[in-house]
C-alpha cells in the first residue's frame, strides 16, 4: 500500500471485505464461511439502503429530523433506544441460532471455522449485553419513569440525546464490523493477554474495545440523568416511599450505573493504552498483570448483572399488581430488598473467577456473599406470589411472561447457588453449565421482563394495544424455546463440555445438542411471532386504539394521561397522596378531571447535540479501529467545538402556551367521556379503548 492511501485509509484494505478471502482460497470451508459472512454483510447494507429509500419515498426526512432525531422528549428518545435494542436483538438471535446449528452439526467438525465461531460468540455476547439489554432497559426507564413520578422530562434532556447518540454509534460500529470485518474473537469479556496486540494485532479487538467504550460512556451519562431526575423532579407529594416499584428499581439501576460503569471504562481504557501506546498494564511481559483487568472487568460486570435484572424486577412488580387487581404485597420490603441487592452486587465480583488462583479463604468469603443475594431475591419472589394470592388474576400476555419468569428464574437462581460454591465451581466453570446458568437468568429475567414491559406499556406509547394472539404465541415460544435450548446445556456442562467450543468429538453430546438446536428453532419462531405481533397490531391499530389511556386498569401515574401522552406529559403537575396514585384517584372518583386553570409550560427546545456527538463518536471510533488518524483528530475537534459552542446557546427552552395545553387536554377529556368504560373481562377485545369501570371493592387498600 502506498503512503498516500495508508495516510487516508490507515490499515483498512480490500481484505477487510468479507468475501475477499473466498476469492483467493477456494477450499469448501472458506467458501461456506465467506458466503455466510457476505450474506450477513449484504443484509446490513441492504437494510441500511432500504431504510434510506423508505424514508425518502415517504418523504419523511424532515419529520424524522425534527420530530425524532433532534427531539429532547424523553418518550421519543426512549422509543429510539428500544428500536436500537430490537434491531440488535434480531441480529444477535440469528447469530445464536447459527451457533446452535453449528454445534448441532459440530460432532467432529461442522461447517464454521473456529475464527468465525469466535466472532459469533463475541458479537452475540457483546450485542446482547451492551446493545440489546442496556438500550432496551434504558429505553423503557426513559419512557416510563418520568411519567410515573409526575415529571415533564428528565433533568438533562440534551444529555439524554447524547446518551442515545453514543449508544447508536456503538451499535453502528458493531454493524459496520460485519461489512468491514473482522470483529474480535475474544468473547464479550475480552480478557487479555489474548486481546493484547501481541496475540491479536488485527482490527477485531479494536472494534470491540471502542463499541463497548461508547456504550459505557452512554450508560454512565444515563445513570446520572436517571438518578438526578428521580431525586429532583418528583411531583409534589411523590415522596420516595410513594414511588412505584419500577421507579425504585430504576433508581437502584441508575446508582449502579454511576458506580458500576467506571470500572469498565478503566478496563477498556487501559487495554486501549496497551494496544495503541505500547503500555504494559495487562501484557504477559515487563511487569504487566492481566489479573487487574479481570478484577476491573468484573467490578463492573457484577453490578452490571443487577443493572440488567433490577428493572425487570420493577416491571414484574407492576405487572403482578396490575393483573392481579391488587396492591403489591410488601411494598416496603420490596424496596428494601432492591436496595440490598444493589449494595450486595458490589461485593461478589470475584465469583466470576474462583479458579484463577486466589486463596480458598477469599473464595469462601465471596461464595458466601454471593449466596446472600439469594435472600433478598427470594423475598421478592414470595412477595410476587403473595401479590397473586387471592388476586383476580388475568392471564394477559405480560402475565404469561411474568409467570414464566418466576418459575424459570427460581430454577436459574438454584443453579447460581450451585455455582457460588467454589468447590463445585472448580468442576463446572467455563463449561456449558455456566452458559446455561446465565442464560437462565438473563432470558427469563431480563428479556422476558423487557418483552413483558413492551406488551404492558406499548399501548401507552402508541395509543393502541399489541395484538394478543401473536403475543401469546411469542411468549409460549420463548418459554418453551428457552427450556429446550438451555436445559440440555446444563447436562452437557455436567458431562464436561467446555463453553465456546466450535466442535466436539464426544458422540454422547449429540442428542443433547440436537435438542438444543431444535430449541433454537423455537426461539427463532418466537422472534418471528414478535415481528408478526407488531405487524398485526399496526394493521389493526384503529380497532385497538386506547386513546383514553388506561387499558389495563392501571395503578400508577403513567396511566392517568392520554395514550400517547402529550409532549409535556401532564397539563398540570399532579399531586400525590399515596402509593398507586392513579388507582387512589379512580377509587375516589377523581380521575380524568380538568384543572382549575392552565399555565404556560416550558419545555426543552430541539437540539442537534445528540446527532453531532453520535456521528463524531462513531467517526472517532472507526478512525481508531483502522488507524485513520486524520479522522480521529478531525472528529475529536468537532466534538470539542460542539460542546463548547453548546455552552454559548441560551435559547434552550420553548414555551407551550396555556391555551394550547387547555385545548388538547379538554379534547382528550371529551374523548374519555365518550369512551365506554369496560369490565376487565373485555380487556383483550376491541371494546377496550382505555377506560376501565371504577375499581372493584378491595382493589385499593
Amino acid at each position: 500500500m502506498s503512503d498516500a492511501t495508508s495516510l487516508i485509509f490507515g490499515r483498512l484494505g480490500w481484505d477487510a471485505l468479507p468475501f475477499w478471502s473466498m476469492l483467493h482460497d477456494h477450499s469448501p470451508m472458506t467458501v461456506i464461511n465467506g458466503v455466510i459472512a457476505t450474506g450477513a454483510a449484504g443484509m446490513v447494507v441492504l437494510g441500511a439502503l432500504a431504510a434510506i429509500v423508505l424514508v425518502t419515498w415517504l418523504g419523511k426526512w424532515k419529520y424524522l429530523w425534527s420530530e425524532w432525531l433532534t427531539s429532547p422528549d424523553h418518550k421519543k428518545i426512549g422509543i429510539m433506544f428500544i428500536v436500537i435494542a430490537l434491531v440488535m436483538l434480531s441480529r444477535a438471535i440469528i447469530e445464536a441460532v447459527l451457533m446452535r446449528v453449528q454445534q448441532t452439526f459440530g460432532l467432529d467438525g461442522g461447517f464454521l471455522t473456529a475464527e468465525h465461531f469466535g466472532e459469533l460468540f463475541t458479537t452475540h455476547g457483546t450485542i446482547m449485553i451492551f446493545f440489546m439489554a442496556m438500550p432496551f432497559l434504558t429505553g423503557i426507564i426513559n419512557y416510563v419513569m418520568p411519567l410515573q413520578i409526575g415529571a415533564r422530562d428528565l433533568s438533562f434532556p440534551v444529555m439524554n440525546q447524547v446518551s442515545l447518540g453514543l449508544t447508536a454509534a456503538g451499535a453502528a460500529l458493531v454493524m459496520i464490523s460485519l461489512v468491514l470485518a473482522p470483529f474480535s474473537t475474544g468473547g464479550w469479556t475480552g480478557y487479555p493477554p489474548f486481546t493484547e496486540l501481541a496475540y491479536n494485532p488485527g482490527a477485531g479487538v479494536d472494534y470491540w474495545l471502542w463499541a463497548v467504550t461508547l456504550s459505557t460512556l452512554s450508560s454512565t451519562l444515563t445513570g446520572i440523568n436517571f438518578a438526578v431526575t428521580i431525586f429532583k423532579k418528583r411531583a409534589p407529594g411523590m415522596k420516595l416511599f410513594r414511588m412505584p416499584l419500577f421507579t425504585w428499581t430504576a433508581l437502584c439501576t441508575a446508582i449502579l450505573m454511576i458506580f458500576g460503569m467506571p470500572p469498565l471504562t478503566v478496563a477498556t481504557g487501559l487495554l486501549a493504552l496497551d494496544r495503541y501506546l505500547d503500555f504494559h498494564m495487562f501484557t504477559t511481559d515487563l511487569g504487566g498483570n492481566m489479573m487487574n483487568y479481570v478484577n476491573l472487568l468484573w467490578a463492573f460486570g457484577h453490578p452490571e448483572v443487577y443493572i440488567l435484572i433490577l428493572p425487570p424486577f420493577g416491571i414484574f412488580s407492576e405487572i403482578f399488581a396490575t393483573f392481579s387487581g391488587k396492591r403489591i404485597y410488601g411494598y416496603r420490603i420490596l424496596v428494601i430488598a432492591t436496595m440490598c441487592i444493589a449494595v450486595l452486587s458490589f461485593t461478589v465480583w470475584l465469583h466470576h473467577f474462583f479458579t484463577m488462583g486466589q486463596s480458598a479463604h477469599i473464595n469462601a468469603a465471596f461464595g458466601i456473599a454471593t449466596m446472600l443475594i439469594g435472600i433478598p431475591t427470594g423475598v421478592k419472589v414470595y412477595d410476587w406470589m403473595l401479590t397473586m394470592y387471592r388476586g383476580r388474576i388475568r392471564l394477559s400476555v405480560p402475565m404469561v411472561y411474568a409467570i414464566g419468569f418466576i418459575m424459570l428464574f427460581v430454577l436459574g437462581g438454584m443453579t447460581g447457588i450451585i455455582l457460588a460454591t467454589p468447590s463445585v465451581d472448580y468442576q463446572v466453570h467455563n463449561s456449558l453449565f455456566l452458559i446455561a446458568h446465565f442464560h437462565n437468568m438473563l432470558i427469563p429475567g431480563l428479556l422476558f421482563g423487557m418483552l413483558s414491559a413492551t406488551n404492558f406499556w406499548f399501548p401507552k406509547a402508541t395509543g393502541f394495544r399489541l395484538e394478543e394472539r401473536w403475543g401469546y404465541r411469542a411468549a409460549f415460544c420463548w418459554i418453551i424455546g428457552f427450556m429446550l435450548t438451555f436445559f440440555p446445556l446444563y447436562v452437557l456442562g455436567l458431562m464436561g463440555m467446555p463453553r465456546r467450543s466450535v466442535a466436539y468429538f464426544e458422540p454422547q453430546y449429540l442428542p443433547w445438542m440436537i435438542t438444543a438446536g431444535i430449541g433454537a428453532m423455537v426461539i427463532l419462531c418466537a422472534l418471528l411471532c414478535l415481528l408478526m405481533q407488531l405487524w398485526v397490531s399496526i394493521r389493526d391499530r384503529h380497532a385497538n386504539n386506547v386513546f383514553a389511556g388506561d387499558p389495563w386498569d392501571g395503578r400508577t401515574l403513567e396511566w392517568a394521561v392520554s395514550a400517547p401522552p402529550p409532549e409535556y406529559n401532564f397539563p398540570v403537575l399532579p399531586e400525590i397522596y399515596s402509593i398507586d396514585a392513579f388507582m387512589t384517584e379512580k377509587d375516589r372518583g377523581q380521575g380524568w378531571q380538568a384543572p382549575d386553570h392552565y399555565v404556560d409550560i416550558e419545555m426543552p427546545a430541539n437540539s442537534t447535540m445528540g446527532v453531532i456527538i453520535g456521528i463524531t463518536g462513531l467517526a472517532m471510533a472507526f478512525g481508531l479501529v483502522w488507524y485513520m488518524w486524520w479522522l480521529v483528530i478531525g472528529a475529536g475537534l468537532v466534538t470539542l467545538v460542539a460542546v463548547i459552542a453548546r455552552g454559548f446557546v441560551r435559547s434552550t427552552t420553548r414555551t407551550i402556551p396555556a391555551h394550547e395545553v387547555q385545548r388538547s387536554h379538554e379534547h382528550w377529556l371529551e374523548q374519555v367521556r365518550r369512551t365506554n368504560p369496560i369490565d376487565r373481562s373485555l380487556e383483550q377485545t376491541t371494546a377496550n379503548h382505555g377506560r376501565p369501570v371504577p375499581p372493584i371493592e378491595g382493589a385499593v387498600q
Binding site: I224, K232, K233, D285, L286, G287, G288, N289, N292, R650
Partner: protein, 214 residues
C-alpha cells in the same frame, strides 16, 4: 402548589453560598439540578481515579528491572506543582467570593485569570516532569509500573487541561452574554471540579510521590 413550593416545604434548601441574583424559584430549582447532577458526575469520576490508584498500588512491584520511583521522581518539582494547585484552589475560592458578594465583574475575571494562569503553570511543570522522566528512560512502554504511573497521573493532567478549556469557554460566555445564570452555574460547577482535582492531586502527591520516594 408548584413543585418549588413543595421543595421549600420539605426543607430542601436553595443552593447555598452563591448569590444567583434576584430570587426566582423556578430557575433556582433548575440550577440546583445542574449542580446536584455535577456532584453525581464527580462521584462517578472519583471511582475512575480510585480504581487507577488501586491498580497503581498493585503494579508497584512491576518495574521489570526498569527505573523505579527513586530514580525518576523529583520531590522539589512535585512539591512546586502541589503548591501551585493548592494556591489555584484558593484563588478560585476568591473568584467564588467575588461572584457572591461583588456586583462588578472585574474582580471575578481577575481571580479567574489568576486561577487559569496557575492551572497552566501546573501543567507546564507536570509536562516538564514527564519530560525529565522520559530522559531518564521512564517511558510507559518500559514496564508495568511505569504504565500504571502514566495511566494515573496524566489522567489528572488531562482533567486539569479540560478544566482550563472550560474556564476559557466560561470567560468567553461571560464576554458574550454577561454574567447571566448559566455562566454563574457554570462557574459554580467548575469550582467543584477544580477543588475535586486538587483533592485528587493531594492523593497523587501523597501516594505516588511521597510514597515512592520514602
Amino acid at each position: 402548589m408548584s413543585s418549588t413550593d413543595t421543595h421549600a416545604l420539605e426543607g430542601n434548601s436553595r443552593h447555598p453560598g452563591l448569590n444567583l441574583g434576584a430570587a426566582h424559584a423556578q430557575e433556582e430549582d433548575t440550577r440546583e439540578e445542574m449542580v446536584f447532577g455535577f456532584w453525581v458526575f464527580m462521584m462517578s469520576d472519583l471511582i475512575l481515579f480510585g480504581l487507577l490508584f488501586a491498580t497503581y498500588v498493585t503494579m508497584l512491584g512491576g518495574t521489570a528491572g526498569g527505573p523505579g520511583p527513586q530514580a525518576l521522581f523529583e520531590l522539589k518539582s512535585a512539591f512546586i506543582q502541589t503548591m501551585i494547585l493548592l494556591v489555584s484552589s484558593f484563588t478560585f475560592g476568591m473568584a467564588s467570593l467575588a461572584l457572591k458578594y461583588r456586583e462588578d465583574r472585574v474582580r471575578l475575571v481577575v481571580w479567574l485569570l489568576v486561577t487559569l494562569a496557575l492551572g497552566l503553570a501546573f501543567l507546564f511543570f507536570e509536562l516538564k516532569d514527564f519530560h525529565s522522566m522520559f530522559d531518564k528512560g521512564g517511558v510507559p512502554s518500559r514496564s508495568g509500573y511505569l504504565s500504571a504511573f502514566f495511566s494515573l497521573v496524566p489522567l489528572h493532567g488531562l482533567h486539569v487541561t479540560a478544566a482550563c478549556i472550560w474556564l476559557v469557554a466560561l470567560l468567553g460566555q461571560m464576554a458574550v452574554h454577561g454574567l447571566d445564570a448559566p455562566v454563574k452555574t457554570g462557574i459554580l460547577r467548575l469550582a467543584i471540579l477544580w477543588h475535586f482535582l486538587d483533592i485528587v492531586w493531594i492523593g497523587i502527591f501523597s501516594l505516588v510521590y511521597l510514597g515512592g520516594l520514602s
